[in-house]
């Protein structure tokens, strides 16, 4: 077991906002079970703000703590602000992550961004 910060252990032990929003405004998935970590974020948007965010996570201690932290960081933010959240910031908020967890388990911000883009696409704000 790697050395995790107290903050990581705290979020791993008591993860916030677990679940899946019914009729979500946006859905974002990142990772896959083959590499060991997978996250699915669902968001509810109101007045351009993330009113609610929930996730399901398959993964190690870091992956669970990262998901929990991202959900806390995103809640209440405008979409523009939430899009600015980086994996690095998430790791910092968690008091750091072991080096080998930075890449594979730190996918929360990516999954959230996918959920926001999904919402924006549905709104016709982003054309692809």
């Amino acid at each position: 077991m790697p050395m995790y910060s107290e903050k990581v252990m705290e979020h791993f032990t008591n993860p916030r906002n677990i679940g899946e929003i019914e009729d979500p405004d946006g859905v974002g998935e990142e990772g896959n079970p083959v590499c060991g970590d997978m996250m699915k974020f669902t968001i509810k948007v109101k007045d351009n703000r993330i009113e609610d965010v929930k996730y399901f996570t398959f993964g190690c201690g870091a992956a669970i703590a990262v998901s929990s932290m991202v959900s806390e960081m995103a809640k209440g933010k405008t979409l523009e602000e939430a899009l600015q959240i980086t994996n690095k910031q998430v790791a910092e908020e968690l008091g750091g992550l072991p080096p080998n967890k930075m890449h594979c388990s730190n996918l929360g911000a990516d999954a959230l961004r996918k959920a926001i883009r999904d919402y924006m696409e549905k709104q016709g704000e982003v054309k692809q």
Partner: protein
């Protein structure tokens, strides 16, 4: 808090009697076995006694025609066996045959040898981890210089038909090495009956000290040392002998030999009851390895829909110590090569747990272990996207094995 160790393959406490036997060799018998004066006598005798004891554990007559070379680990013994016989170069050729599920101390040195131009054949195994003797026979060519296949696998516990495999090697005059690190001290091993030419073992796997290992070498097998210097260990391992560790290894071997049947039966009984309880209480649990033909101290299961490190951490919080074959729990961030070789799907390999009881394991702890693992599995499944996908679509890996 109550703590329960189910990771005895990683480490076990040194037997009290073993420790007692070692202590004088730190104190009054501290001498160097190579000394010509009186101080060297007792340590020198102790080395030879330890050799005999290790020999008895594996059915080798020491002193006699064969040799026991002391090393610092089974990894070192594996390196001495493979690199040593190749460097001695008695047999000409470039093919070395092994199995896909060997320990890294075999596989990684073969990877290096492959880069040097050796032709390495890694035999596949079946869904239980068994090597097929017919496939070994097919792989043998006149270029084959060595075959190395383990007695039993440390991760899934599967016991190989070593006698048959060694016989095939001998028909063609090829030396046969076996890594017995996981098996020695836990199942009967007889180098005469199985006919292996070299065998590696480690004392810390059967209540001896860490840093103690040995390589059995049959008469007629020529090796070159990995460590050159003085002529300790018949010139096959230079450096002043670690006498206390060797004495400890010898005593641990003697005790294991003496109580093998009893030890095996006790641990197997615990393992069987634990297995039964877990499969009764926890849905979507998969057994990895063979149902019967496995080491008594080995249970390996996959908890579907969840990841191993998270399981390990949650169990750790409940005072239960286990290990996992998931990528997140490995330093290399790669999931177990053993589980991959036996065809366990990646997502199930990520949720694998190795439960390795020891002779200290107590049956009265089984309900607690079961209850905790059931709770942890449920809690992690509730947050798993794979589990919710299963609930929606009804797809799982129940029929994979």
């Amino acid at each position: 808090m109550k703590t329960i160790n189910l990771d005895y393959t990683a480490a076990a406490p040194v037997d009290e009697a073993v420790l007692e036997a070692m202590i004088p060799y730190f104190r009054e018998h501290y001498g160097n076995p190579s000394s010509g004066h009186t101080l060297g006598e007792k340590p020198r005798e102790a080395l030879e006694e330890a050799r005999e004891k290790v020999g008895r554990l594996i059915g080798a007559e020491i002193p006699g025609k064969d040799q026991i070379i002391f090393t610092a680990s089974a990894s070192e013994a594996n390196n001495l066996a493979l690199k040593g016989i190749i460097a001695a170069g008695k047999k000409k050729g470039n093919r070395i045959i092994t199995s896909a599920i060997e320990h890294f101390s075999i596989l990684n040195q073969l990877k290096s040898l492959e880069k040097e131009g050796y032709d390495i054949v890694r035999l596949p195994v079946d869904g239980y981890g068994l090597v097929d003797p017919d496939q070994l026979e097919e792989a043998i060519t006149d270029q084959t210089i060595l075959i190395s296949i383990q007695v039993a696998n440390p991760e899934i516990g599967t016991i190989q038909p070593i006698e048959k495999l060694a016989a095939l090697a001998h028909e063609k005059g090829i030396p046969f090495h076996t890594d017995a690190a996981a098996a020695a001290g836990w199942i009967p091993i007889d180098v005469e009956k199985t006919g292996v030419d070299m065998l590696s073992l480690a004392g810390d796997q059967f209540y001896g000290p860490k840093g103690s290992g040995a390589l059995f070498v049959r008469k007629g097998i020529r090796l070159r040392p990995l460590i050159e210097g003085g002529i300790q260990e018949k010139g096959l391992r230079a450096g002043t002998e670690n006498v206390p560790a060797i004495v400890g290894l010898g005593e641990a071997a003697r005790l294991a030999h003496q109580s093998l049947a009893e030890r095996t039966e006790k641990v197997a009984s615990f393992r069987n009851q634990l297995k039964e309880a877990l499969f009764k209480e926890i849905p979507h649990l998969h057994l990895n390895g063979h149902p019967d033909n496995r080491l008594p101290r080995n249970l390996n299961v996959s908890v579907e829909f969840v990841e191993g490190e998270a399981l390990l951490m949650r169990l750790n919080m409940a005072g239960i110590y286990v290990s996992s074959g998931s990528s997140c729990t490995s330093q290399a961030l790669k999931s177990s090569h053993v589980l991959e070789a036996i065809g366990v799907p990646p997502e199930l390999a990520q949720g694998s747990l190795l439960l390795a009881p020891g002779r200290e394991s107590r049956e009265e702890d089984i309900p607690y272990i079961t209850e905790q693992l059931a709770q942890v599995a449920e809690l992690l499944r509730k947050m798993s996207p794979l589990y919710h996908q299963y609930l929606k679509e009804g797809k799982d890996n129940a029929n994979v094995q």
